[in-house]
């Protein structure tokens, strides 16, 4: 097993880096906000509302990115029995669900001024909504078992099956959306993004990723300690 396979060493390294990554997260987000809210032009079509894109689009990216990392962790848990993989997947799920919720809420907030309704069955918004259900299903399944190990194994299989289905669902929703294309849906992110808008977008995206790493490591530490407490209680119960 490669060097990071040793869980204790991985967690020790991760926690030593935690303060640095947290600092980087703060700086990136502050820079992103500054560029996003103040130092970038309004869109000629959408006006100021385009600023919502700087949180909506990165949140939607994160929703899919975290689900992908959960699927990768699930594969390494099922196939290579990596001891940290299920902990990582379970720790990441709520964060992913949080980002998906953010993407949905900011999406409708962005859509309201544009189309006058809070929810639009736009292909991408619908796909993100379905991804939200996949997250909720995963979290419900993992916590539905008394034996946490059973939950981990079932969750890993579900995350994998869900991940394999994401492209099919995406294709079918896009396909469905073109069939029922309402006349005047303005494309969410405009024709081409001007450089001045690209900077805040990428800064926010980087900030969200760093934030994810920070919260993930903290949640993994929590989950590992919880498992140790459960094991110690079992030992105590035996004596």
């Amino acid at each position: 097993m490669h060097r990071f396979a040793n869980p204790a060493r991985f967690m020790r390294i991760a926690e030593r880096l935690l303060p640095w990554v947290s600092g980087a997260t703060g700086l990136t987000l502050i820079a992103g906000l500054y560029f996003g809210l103040f130092a970038s032009p309004a869109d000629y079509q959408q006006g100021e509302t385009v600023r919502i894109m700087y949180v909506h689009v990165p949140a939607a990216w994160m929703a899919l990115f975290i689900y992908t990392t959960m699927a990768v962790a699930s594969v390494s848990y099922i196939v290579w029995k990596h001891p940290l993989a299920d902990v990582a997947a379970q720790a990441a799920a709520p964060i992913g669900a949080g980002f998906t919720a953010m993407a949905l809420i900011t999406g409708s907030l962005w859509g309201q001024p544009m189309w006058g309704t809070w929810w639009v069955w736009d292909a991408r918004l619908t796909s993100v909504l379905i991804l939200f259900f996949l997250y909720l299903g995963y979290m419900a399944l993992v916590n539905a078992f008394d034996d946490p190990e059973r939950g981990s194994r079932a969750g890993a299989i579900l995350a994998l099956v869900g991940f394999i289905n994401v492209p099919i669902i995406k294709f079918s929703v896009d396909w469905w959306n073109t069939l029922h294309q309402p006349a005047s849906v303005v494309k969410m992110d405009g024709p081409a993004i001007d450089n001045s808008m690209l900077i805040p977008l990428l800064l926010m995206a980087l900030g969200f990723k760093l934030y994810f790493l920070v919260v993930l490591v903290i949640r993994m530490r929590g989950e590992l300690t919880a498992r140790r407490v459960r094991a110690l209680r079992l030992v105590e119960a035996d004596v």
């Binding site: 060493r9 919502i52 949180v55 949080g98 929590g222 919880a226 110690l232 105590e236």
Partner: protein, 62 residues
């Protein structure tokens, strides 16, 4: 904000709330687990001769 402030600020507000909420929940959850562990370690359940580990700082090598 060109009159759209009513949509931009809530959007950023919600993002801030959710992210802060996730962070606080994570930190508080981990601290609570660490307290449980410390309580259990204090009752001598852990191995003799190994001082109760502080929050994961000196985990030994596998």
């Amino acid at each position: 904000m060109g009159g759209y402030g009513a949509f931009i600020w809530p959007a950023y507000g919600i993002v801030a709330i959710v992210m802060a909420g996730l962070l606080v929940a994570a930190v508080r959850g981990t601290r609570a687990r660490a307290r449980d562990l410390a309580a259990l370690e204090a009752t001598g359940v852990s191995r003799r001769g190994n001082p109760p580990q502080s929050k994961g700082s000196d985990g030994d090598d596998a």
